[in-house]
């Protein structure tokens, strides 16, 4: 008896738990500092740089990388690609947690977080793109939450509620695609207001299209990437169906990602052509832009294509991780790096270590919740009471 107790106590102190614990502790301290001493005490934000890492990474990257939810559910329920069905619940969960974390991070960044509901209930700034972003993100978070509940309801044994919500699947999927189209593109549209601050190679009338199309790429790649991670760490939670369909997901999504990346490459080229910005490519900013366009768009497209043609799952998985990184690079470029490019070095922004720590904290919280849900609720497996017939 005492042996078992000793084992369970030591198994709590896994490397992940220890690191996560430290990050969470740090996060709580920074929370205290943020709300007792203000943003200036924990960030490097300034009057020239009102938006920093929490917007550039937590918000912009977070929303892009949570796009797997609408992409996967659209593929399965609207396009009828049933063989990807096992990828839906993990994608919805990632989407739901992703957007929830965005809201969490927003509560730190915004000056008066308790006023976040104000644009909806007090005064609507309908001329602002940010108003539309807020409205769509809020509505979509609700959609994602409802789409997630069947898993929780199955875990809780609430059959009637679960069945009721499942009947909403088509409506929710439609709403998800519409709302995602709107807010993914609008997050890019935010920057249309600042042509004097964003470098010409990134500023374009097409930014909303760029952000929307790249969100699809992000979603497809995140499903593959996150799927490879869950397979590695939660394989024991995956049932036969999930394991069998996994390969189809990798090849199918990999092929789609390759093609969408090719299209995205072309529209980026069009962006330069329509404004005749070719001459910028020969500058050092141009070199960095080419790194993003060639290294993180063209290259992954070709690698995905090779992986699909050669049936090389490993190559596709690595390409997915690289593509996710590429999406992060693009969002950081638009939001932080190519933004205020004209300012002298003394006025440029680099995040305070506490901003980085807080962002890590937000991600860690997400991982902890993800782990709990995936190990207790039917995400990677079908609940025995609710098994669906499979051909």
């Amino acid at each position: 008896m005492s042996n078992l107790v000793a084992i369970s106590r030591s198994s709590l102190l896994t490397p992940f738990n220890v690191v996560a614990g430290i990050i969470v502790l740090l996060g709580l301290i920074i929370t205290f500092l943020r709300f007792t001493q203000g943003l200036g005490a924990v960030t490097n934000l300034s009057d020239y740089n009102p938006w920093g890492l929490w917007i550039g990474f937590d918000l912009l990257c977070g929303v892009a990388l949570a796009a797997g939810g609408y992409v996967t559910s659209a593929a399965v329920y609207i396009f009828g690609l049933k063989k990807y069905h096992s990828a839906v619940r993990p994608a919805i969960l990632t989407g739901f947690l992703g957007y929830a974390l965005v809201v969490l991070a927003l509560n730190y960044d915004v000056g008066r977080p308790w006023r976040l509901p104000y644009p909806f209930i007090i005064q609507q700034g309908t001329t602002s793109v940010l108003f539309e972003v807020g409205a769509c993100v809020l509505l979509y978070l609700i959609v994602l939450f409802v789409e997630f509940t069947p898993s929780a309801l199955e875990w809780l044994g609430l059959k009637k509620a679960r069945n009721l919500i499942l009947r909403l699947t088509m409506a929710l999927t439609f709403l998800g695609v519409i709302l995602s189209t709107l807010h993914q593109s609008s997050l890019g549209a935010l920057f249309l207001i600042a042509p004097s601050k964003l470098h010409p190679l990134w500023y374009s009338q097409y930014i909303p299209v760029f952000f929307f199309v790249s969100s699809i790429i992000a979603g497809l790649s995140m499903v593959i990437f996150e799927g490879s991670l869950t397979h590695r760490y939660f394989a024991d939670k995956m049932d036969a169906i999930h394991l069998k369909e996994k390969e189809d997901v990798v090849f199918g999504f990999g092929k789609a990602a390759s093609f969408v990346l090719a299209g995205y490459f072309m529209i980026k080229v069009f962006g330069i052509a329509m404004d005749n910005n070719w001459h910028w490519l020969s500058t050092s900013w141009g070199a960095w832009f080419l790194v993003e366009l060639l290294g993180f768009v063209a290259l992954p497209s070709l690698l995905y294509a090779t992986g699909v043609r050669e049936k090389n799952i490993g190559l596709i998985k690595w390409t997915a991780a690289w593509t996710v990184l590429g999406i992060v690079v693009n969002r950081l470029n638009v939001g932080l790096i190519a933004f205020n490019w004209h300012l002298p070095a003394s006025e440029r922004y680099f995040p305070h270590w506490m901003e980085i720590a807080l962002s890590l904290f937000v991600v860690t919280v997400g991982l902890i919740v993800f782990r709990f849900i995936v190990t207790h609720m039917p995400i990677l497996y079908e609940h025995p009471d609710y098994k669906t017939p499979h051909a």
Binding site: A262, V269, D275, N276, R309
Partner: protein, 46 residues
């Protein structure tokens, strides 16, 4: 503004011209890329 363009008309004529060329490249390019992507599947089927 490019020093080469005297009028907005000139600017648009040039950029739209380049864009039309790119349109042709895009259409053929993407079609060919799709065939390339599916290449091995076609071979395997035979």
């Amino acid at each position: 503004m490019e020093t080469g363009f005297l009028t907005l008309q000139d600017f648009y004529t040039f950029t739209k011209g380049v864009a039309y060329l790119l349109v042709v490249v895009t259409l053929f390019g993407l079609a060919g890329y799709w065939l390339f992507l599916n290449g091995r599947d076609e071979d395997d089927r035979e």
